[in-house]
Amino acid sequence: MSSLLKLSQVEAYIQQFHILHDINFEVPKGEVTVLLGRNGAGKTTTLRTIMGLNPVSKGSIVFKDEEISNQKPHLIANKGIGYVPEDQGIFGDLTVGENLRVAMKREDQETTERLEWILDLFPDLKKFWKKPGGQLSGGQKQMLAISRAYVNENDLLLIDEPSKGLAPIVVEKVMETILQMKEKTTILLVEQNFLMASKIGDRFYIIDDGQTVHNGLMGELKQDKALMKKYLGVS
């Protein structure tokens, strides 16, 4: 198993609060790794820390065999990591087209093909191309956020709770898309919706109180009802 991203004994604070105590996990290339855990366990902080939006106080984050902890966010992004934040991070005054264009590092044939591919998956974005991002529905915003992270050729996508606040039918669509993206890129997913996580994920890590407490293959987790109940509240 060749790992694309590896976190070892990562600790992080938000102001004076010690949020991450001991995070350890690896993201194998070509797979979907899911971070599971209850609200407030530290999943979002973990993604933000990988992206350099939150400082690492201890430990290491290695991406493609290079230490990236405490590097600036734009440098980390340019190493090949795309990020879809929990709040989607849509630029409300920019149109759908502008939101995508601002993210495009190049405007070459390859990027255009990726854009066309993602627009075929999300035809709504094509339909509302000139509509301001702030006027989209929650589902459309999520589709735009995912498209924006995908439009550049990234080696790894960090996606934070893509199903949050969405109607079941939209969740289904987002899930289908991530499954299709899985064929083309490696994904680290934070997800509370266990049904979605179990369908998409290849392996999982459970974070509890800022520590990785359990990991394994997603198929194994589905069988372990006690573990699911203890850490995820799923029965």
Partner: protein, 286 residues
């Protein structure tokens, strides 16, 4: 009718000068949440550096170029040495930039002397046109034209180019912009320098308009620019244009009809806007 036309041209010219000063300020605040009270210092340095060259060469075009270069250089120095250490702390920003504003103001007196300096428009911009009963002063029309030209240029850059998209996106959510692989600090420095150059340009254009320059006018004008930024909406470039024109016109008409209220009118407009639209006339959506 001729009086109204004349007051309108006056108001528009003043509005354009304030707009040039406020445009940089609103982008700087919107992009990096920095309260730069030293902006008026850049205005006054642009005025003095430009007028100095104007005295020596008698070329107003050269004066404008030197003012812009002065603004760019001072903008770079201000961002690197004064602003960078106090990112994220508004109280420190106000204190240090206000202090730097006073330093810039006093340095003007050291370098150029404490006396006021009289400035006349260049020969090609002196005089007026007559349209019916209305007399239009050439230099004021020139200021309005320059203001509109710069507004359109910057507006098109912001709307049509990727760098413009990055700046607008940065105003809305600078953290997200960084995660797209964009060095927002570099973008900010560039915007800061452009904002400083606009302030300096405003200063040199203001010199022949008011006929005299003095070190303290930077602070007076920067207060006006802040009022405009608040009225227009923090971070809104178009909002700044509308607010600057509104303030310019209100000042011109009040100065004629109710002189006692000419200084208070800006505060009154700001108060009314803040009561009914606390986010300003144009809101930037994140």
């Amino acid at each position: 009718m001729d009086l109204i036309a004349s007051l309108t041209v006056n108001g528009l010219a003043t509005g354009m000068l304030i707009f040039l000063l406020a445009a940089g300020l609103t982008l700087i605040f919107g992009l990096m949440s920095v309260l730069n009270f030293a902006h008026g210092g850049l205005f006054i340095w642009g005025a003095y550096a430009g007028v100095w060259i104007y005295y020596i060469t008698n070329s107003f075009l050269l004066a404008i170029i030197v003012a812009i270069i002065t603004g760019l250089v001072l903008g770079l120095i201000t961002e690197r040495l004064i602003i960078r250490p106090v990112y994220g702390n508004h109280i420190q920003q106000i204190l240090i930039t206000l202090g730097f504003m006073l330093v810039l103001q006093e340095l003007i007196k050291v370098v150029f002397g404490p006396d006021q300096k009289a400035v006349h428009p260049p020969a090609w911009l002196e005089g007026s046109f007559q349209m019916g009963d209305v007399i239009l002063i050439k230099y004021r029309l020139f200021i309005i034209a320059i203001g509109l030209l710069l507004f359109l240029t910057i507006y098109l850059i912001l709307k049509k180019t990727r760098i413009g998209l990055i700046v607008r996106a940065g105003v809305m959510d600078r953290e997200m912009v960084q995660t797209l692989g964009i060095n927002i600090r570099f973008v900010f420095m560039a915007v800061f320098m452009v904002g400083a150059a606009l302030a300096a340009l405003s200063g040199v254009l203001h010199a022949p308009y008011s006929g005299v320059i003095y070190a303290e006018m930077g602070l007076e004008f920067s207060i006006l620019a802040f009022i405009v930024v608040v009225i227009g909406g923090m971070g809104s470039f178009t909002g700044s244009l509308f607010a600057a024109i509104l303030v310019g016109l209100a000042q011109a008409f009040m100065a004629y009809y109710v002189p006692a209220l000419s200084l208070a009118v800006n505060m009154l407009i700001m108060t009314v806007v803040l009561i009914f639209r606390p986010q300003g006339l144009f809101k930037v959506k994140g």
